[in-house]
Symmetry: C2
Subunit: 324 residues, 2 copies
Amino acid sequence: MFTFQDVQQKIEREIARIQFVNPPKSLYEPIVYTLSLGGKRIRPALLLMACNLYQDEIESAMQPALGLEVFHNFTLLHDDLMDEADMRRNQPTVHKQWSPNAAILSGDAMLIYAYRLFEGVQDGLLKPVLQLFTTTALEICAGQQFDMEFETRQDVTEAEYIEMIRLKTAVLLACALKMGAMLGKAPEAEQEVLYRLGIHMGLAFQLQDDLLDVYGDTAVFGKQLGGDIVSNKKTFLLINALQRATGREKAVLTDWISRKTFNPEEKIAAVTQVYEQLGLKELTEDKIQVYYKEAMDSLGMLNVPTERLAYLKEVCTRLMYRQS
Amino acid sequence: MFTFQDVQQKIEREIARIQFVNPPKSLYEPIVYTLSLGGKRIRPALLLMACNLYQDEIESAMQPALGLEVFHNFTLLHDDLMDEADMRRNQPTVHKQWSPNAAILSGDAMLIYAYRLFEGVQDGLLKPVLQLFTTTALEICAGQQFDMEFETRQDVTEAEYIEMIRLKTAVLLACALKMGAMLGKAPEAEQEVLYRLGIHMGLAFQLQDDLLDVYGDTAVFGKQLGGDIVSNKKTFLLINALQRATGREKAVLTDWISRKTFNPEEKIAAVTQVYEQLGLKELTEDKIQVYYKEAMDSLGMLNVPTERLAYLKEVCTRLMYRQS
């Protein structure tokens, strides 16, 4: 059995080996750059670990695992362009380092290259693997579209928000786990349980991200706290604040949201205070707890010897309660 | 046997039937809009006609044929954004009608949806069909990258230009013909001959496009003449003019190219005069003739009864000598 660290190392080795030999270099440099920025390689790691539940040999699942990682990094590249984000993992984003056109075109090539990485899947599995991937990829586009539309809306409901993060974040984790099970030739029922596990894990993962922006430990989190508050990002906290605040709290919140110029630290402090008054930290933690329990229930339903589940259980817990 | 018009009608019917039922509508509206702008549906038509050389049943090739058409329209959508083109087929481009972000994200969804259309390909053919498509799609990205890089270069050679249009235009026509043969279960040697036919047809097709911008009949061509000259687009004519002009002709050409403000009609007249002095119309026509002959030689090498080749031969000739 392989641990999260084991598969992470394998993935990192394989990513370092990806080479683009065809010209023009200028098309592929932004792709290599994006892939080299790091990250935890969560999606390919989950795929390999899910595969490993059902078989010891996981090398044959490596290329599709990389396909998910390349695809995920493609979405970051295009999302950063659409969101006009200047930095990603403490490095300039592709449209800043090169140009918006480079981000568009190299992103497109990256998406196409992700499909290349599924070509080696064995005959009987190729079609279902591609169907799962394409369905997931379209859902992620839908999630990004909803996310962008939420920016200009003040009436987003919690249910709409959960559906958005299901599409934008959770389905790719679910896809990774299910695809790993498919490649490990697990029965369909097992694949479905892992898919649901991925959805709940993904929802908790994103809510934890929303929490960390406000309550994280800067030293551990690795990025500035309060970025979501400064940019009025519609997080689980802000959406619930907008839905729940009344009277003076409502006035304070809408005032800060509408200000064009402000001292960021003041705004963060003021909005955080509203969150505290409304008990949003606890509300979010409770919601994460619900998803965590659902995920653990799914894990318990798998038809796999308990000792084989230990590493996956550990990584699920770590991702849902991550501090960075 | 089906004529070009027959398959065009079939394709048009199928495109009109494409529906996107999942939300958000805003993600899919630009896709439906782009597909509804029309065009000659050359790529799916070539695929179906190539398939029809080897079997009478072509319905099973329709979905992959649509995949190529959706992909082609995706490239137009993203290229128009990168080239800042306001109009396409006399209608506003997606980034003008909606927004640059809509063009990026709906374009991404369109590329992913193109892959969806290959899912129904039968088991043994799915992998080679996808490999051909993905290789072609990456080549087209490379072609667009070269094209953009040529914009700021004055020393592009004819050979570089031919390689660029091979990648940007010809490989997709070649892919269409080869994929049609694959789906029609033609032997590999036949597939390769059709691929080469597509390359030569595509090169002639693009050179004819370059010619039409200068020497087309406005009433037939459907768009304003001289657009390439006004924008200094590196066409086969301009590249050869830059390589061949000397003395006064060179001075006139570089002067017009460097002017920031000018009367478009004056510029078109002046540059066209240089083209005439350098005999570039004849040079281009001769080159088209060379590719036409290569294409006809390929047609003659196919192991298909002559009477089955008539419709494909007609459409090849028409595309290489098209007036619009």
